[in-house]
Structures are given as C-alpha cells and as structure tokens.
Point group: C2
Chain length 363, copies 2
C-alpha cells in the first residue's frame, strides 16, 4: 500500500515537474539570457507527498502489536515540557518581584481553522499558567493584508509585548512571506524571520530566536541523553517552519544531516541509515518500521487530526511515524500526542521570556 | 595514508569535543538553567579535516594514471565562464548606450595575503574586460574594524557602486560576522549577508544575491545537462561561503542533499551514494576514487596552492578531488584550475550587473 501511496505522490510530482520545466524554459526565454538558472521562486513545488491518505492506513498502523517485544524508550515530551514550564514560571515570578515587569506575548490569528484555533488556545492557556501576559487579535478569514500589518505594527510599538507571532498557516491568498518579514525582529519569538533563519544557518552567528519546534526537538534529544555530535540524522520534510530549521540546528550540533523530501528516491533506504530520524511531513504513518535502523531515535513532529467519535474532542492526532511498528525497532521515540507538541509550546514561552529579559536587560 | 590523515583529523576533533563539552556544561551552569541546550555559537568548531597535508599526497595523487581508461567528461569552467562574461559585456554595453550608466564594483582588501591579492586582481581584471567600473580599497593588515566600516559606509552611499565585497578571509582578530552584516544588503554581491542567506534557505523567498561560487556550481551542472531534480547530492564541507549555500541551493533545485563535514563518520561511504558530489573543503586530494560512485558528477571547489618551482607563478593549485583517479570513475568533472574558479568570477560580474540593473530599473 505504501508503494501505491508513493506512486500517487510521484504522479503528483510529475505534474509538478512538468510545470517546473515550463517555468524553467520561460525563465530562459525571458530578458535575462545570460544563465540557464531560472529564478529560485519558480523552483518551488508543493511538498505533495500524497494527495490522499488511505483510511485503513490511519486506522491500523498506529496500534502496537502486543505480540512483539517493545523496546523503545518513550521520550515523554509532556513531562519534559512541564518541567521546563515550571522553571519558566519561576523565572517569570522572579522577574515580576525583582523589576515589576511581566513578559508579554501577542498572537495574531486569521480565519476560523479549527486546528489553528486550538493551537492558539493552548498557547494562551500555557502563557496564563506561566504568568506571561498574552493578547490575541482574532481576524476574520476575509481580512486584508493591511489588517494584519496594522496589528503587527501596534504590537511592534507596544513595550509590554515581547513576543509576536502570526499563527500559520495563513489563508492562501495572503502573502505569508511578506507578512512574516514585517515581524519586528526582536519580537520574532517563532524565529521565522529570514534574518533569524540566516543567522541559524551561518556558523559563528546566533539568531535572536530559534524556531520553537526545532528547538523543542533538540531539547528532547539532549534531555534523553541522545548524542547528536557526529551522528547521522535524517529530517523528513523540508518545510520552512520545521524541516529546514531542524536540519540547520542538527547541523549546528554536528550531526551529518540529510533532508528527505517528496522528490527523494528511496526515502526508506536513506532514513534507515540514520541514528536520529525527525519526521515532519504531516502524513500519517509515513514512516514504517522498514524506514528505521534498529536502535534509531525517532522524533515525530507530525500531528494529523482524524475524526474519532470515541474521543471527547471528536478527533485524535496521528503522527508521521507508525508508532506501533516503530516502538519495536527504535531505541527511543516521541509519542503523538505528548511528544513534540507540548515542547513547541514550552519553547514559545521560553523565547518570550528570553525576549522580555533582553528587553529589560534582566538576567 | 588517508586513514592516518583522518585519524589525525579525528584526534583534533576529540580535542574539539572536549572543549565543546566543557562549554556545554558551562552553559548549563550559567544563569539560564531552563534548558540543556548551550548557546549555538559555543558549538562552533574549526572544520579541521587535517592539521597536516602529507607532501606525497599532494604530489602523486593528481597525476592521471595513463593505463586506466579515462571516462569523465571535462566540465570546462573556463570556456563556460568566458561565454557568460562575453554576454555580460554585451549587457554592460547595452546599458551604457541605453541609459549612459555603468555597473560599479567595490572591493575591500585587508592585509597582504598573496592568495587574496591574486583573487582581487583577477576580479578587477575581469571587471575591466566586461566594462564594469571597479574600485579597490587596500587596507593594511593592522587596520581597525572602523577603517573597514568607514570604507563600507562610503561605498554604501556611492550611487555609482552597485556591488561591494570584502575579500575573505579577513585577519582573524577582526569580527568577520559583524563586518559582513554591515554590508548594504542591496549591494551584497557576494550574497553573504545573513538576510540573503535566510532568503536562500527559505522556500518561497528569493535572495537579492546568490553567493557566487554556489551559483557558479549550479550553472556548471545545468550547462552540462546534469539533472539535479530528484538526485542525491553530497556537499563535502560546510563553510558559510561555499558548503552551506551550495547545499541550500541544491535543495532548492530538489536534490536530496547530505552535508559531510569533518565530524562525519564514513564520509567515503556517504559520498559514494551521491549522483552529484561538490567538494569544498580545501584539503588537497581528499576525495579519492573510493569516494565516488561510477558515473557521479564531480564539482571540485577546492583550490589549495602548493609551491611549484616549475610554474611561472611559483605555485600550482590542487583541488579537493584526486583528479587523476576521479576521471576514471566520474561521468563528468571540473578541473582545478579552470573549473569552478572562473565561474565564481563570472557570477560576481553577473551579480554586479544585476544589482546595477535593479538600481537603475533597467531591464
């Protein structure tokens, strides 16, 4: 079935390839005839691993097989993040009692996507629990770019706000790149500003903020005693917000990193060479046991909601990794939910705290 | 012998590892106890592939073995770059005759490193040949950071200068990162500004300038009919100016990219999996035939000068790839000299021309 899914994905990719080639020839027929290389943006393709997720793939693969011996240690992101959040709350208290100041986070939410609303609600609740002030601007799906930029500008000027984030993804008609570039650099607690990304990529530099999910992944590895230095790491997925910065960060920690994407041939074989696998695609159960080297450490960033009438919320989350299979092969693994997700929130709080400390010169 | 060289390299790395660990524990004992992760900059290590280059390694490995059948096509960077430079010269002429304006490049050279002086001289000669104005500020080894920043500032304000570069490497006592960050973004024809690098890394973005050597490598591949899309690429070396941007650029072209560095275990095995190998370490003949898959395409960025009394200049250049061996395994290869080097200069001229076109809104 996997082969069939990947074939579908490849078919979609071939369509992409055709459009890429026509763009490329367009570029070469344009005014700049000096080079063969087309503009970079014309090379962008959707990361279309598959257009359809088979239902039985979702249902069966995540149930552990009780007849197999379970070997993987659980990397408990929930417990680790709670420990971190409790330390953050202490620091926030110390800041309040020392200088009478409170870190503040502002969130801009656009539209009524259910998952975005849940993420924002979780962030706000986490702020409250840690004693961090928070504000949400809730804009309609039909809002203009100017509405967002105006909200950004208000938060930019507000000295009581030390972190600003725009909940992604934005509605497609909006220019996400342009909007993220308008984030005030010193409040970019998501770390998505291209200058932060450049400073993450470059040796000898330090970004003001490291994106929360990648930072959370590294922290999970370090706290689980996983050595990154000199290890082979494979990052599956190359999104701007997870795959790319995670690969850059793993490289900063001296892993040898390969980024697998929808156009990679034999992703399974490549992933199987890795000591550390970070899956960040958003395709449920993509990573089966055949993708993992025995003893590999697996960080599953995927969170794909599927309907589940037996759950209180009416849905449950599936990761990119087939957990039931992986626990029999990996040496350690993060669950979904309860792995990377809570760490992302904890790192957001931490980035906000650090930003406030920087602003007030408080250490 | 290679094993011995790498063992030496590893010994150097273990020293690095010790200092990394002590830095790491320092970070954890510091004021921020919330995370295990140390500051990123503390993770930086020298890319110390080897401390010593064996003389016989330099001497013997670059001579082709005439008894083997030669199979690799030569990727003639000199010829390709001449074609590009001639087109650039035509464009410069068209600009002059249409709007009476000339592109201008400024170079800041610090100290008296022979290789830097030669590189700068070549760039200036190439400018002259293409009809591009050029200026060089030649600062003493002992100059201050302020001297450099003041030169930068003058060029920044000069409307007849459309490209500014600081010849690297700078003397070690100077803060290269700080100086490069002061480059005016719209004149950063080397593309080393962190914002340019971030925009190169991020999908959906386009940097104002792509670093010259990586851009030259891609152009060599495209003009040689090498497909990058979907191929496995290995970049050996992760310098800020070549390895990193080349890996980002290959990924933009949808290769599956692995970056090999001095801490990679089994670099030979990993390189052998690649369809495209870009070697950018600066260690003569590091890449032997055992590092290459039959039919691989090899781009050799290394230029390591060794004394050679039989040469007019008193030295000759060695690449990172053992050319004499590689031509029997690869399907195509760039020579050193005459491969990537001339392309770097051509791309610098092109970036300067494009910058001037942007400034004058000339198309």
């Amino acid at each position: 079935m996997l082969a069939a899914v990947l074939r579908k994905s490849e078919a979609a990719m071939h369509t992409g390839l055709r459009s890429l080639r026509s763009l490329s020839s367009l570029a070469n027929n344009g005014s700049c005839q000096i080079l063969k290389s087309p503009p970079l943006v014309s090379l962008d393709l959707l990361e279309d691993w598959t257009c359809r997720v088979d239902q039985d793939r979702q249902e069966t693969a995540s149930i552990p097989n009780p007849s197999n011996q379970l070997t993987a240690a659980l990397i408990d992101g929930k417990a680790i993040s709670e420990e971190i959040r409790s330390k953050i709350a202490n620091e926030v208290n110390r800041m309040k009692s020392s200088i009478g100041k409170t870190p503040g986070l502002a969130v801009i939410l656009v539209g009524d996507r259910r998952d975005c609303q849940i993420y924002v609600r979780n962030k706000i609740l986490a702020c409250e629990e840690a004693g961090i002030r928070s504000e949400v601007v809730d804009l309609r799906e039909s809002c203009s770019e100017d509405d967002i930029l105006s909200a950004l500008s208000n938060f930019n000027e507000n000295p009581e706000i030390h972190g600003v984030l725009v909940q992604l993804p934005l509605p497609e008609r909006l220019d996400e790149g342009k909007i993220l570039s308008m984030l005030p650099l010193e409040k970019d607690v998501d770390g998505f500003h291209p200058l932060n990304m450049g400073n993450l990529a470059l040796k000898g530099r330090e970004p003001l903020f490291i994106p929360c999910t990648p930072k959370g992944c590294i922290e999970l590895l370090l706290r689980s005693g996983v050595e990154i230095y000199g290890k082979r790491a494979v990052v599956i997925g190359r999104s701007n917000i997870v795959g790319l910065p995670t690969s850059l960060l793993l490289q900063r920690y001296h892993a040898t990193v390969t980024v697998i994407h929808a156009l990679t041939k034999n992703p399974e074989m490549l992933a199987r060479e890795a000591d550390i696998v970070v899956a960040a695609v958003g395709m449920p159960n993509l990573v089966r046991k055949s993708w993992l080297k025995p003893g590999a450490v697996v960080i599953d960033v995927g969170t794909y909601p599927i309907e589940d009438s037996s759950s209180d919320q009416g849905y449950r989350l599936l990761g990119d990794v087939c957990y039931g299979e992986a626990i029999n092969v990996a040496s350690a693994i993060t669950p979904v939910p309860g792995g990377v997700g809570p760490m992302t929130v904890a790192m957001l709080l931490l980035n906000t705290l650090e930003s406030a400390k920087r602003f007030y010169d408080f250490s």
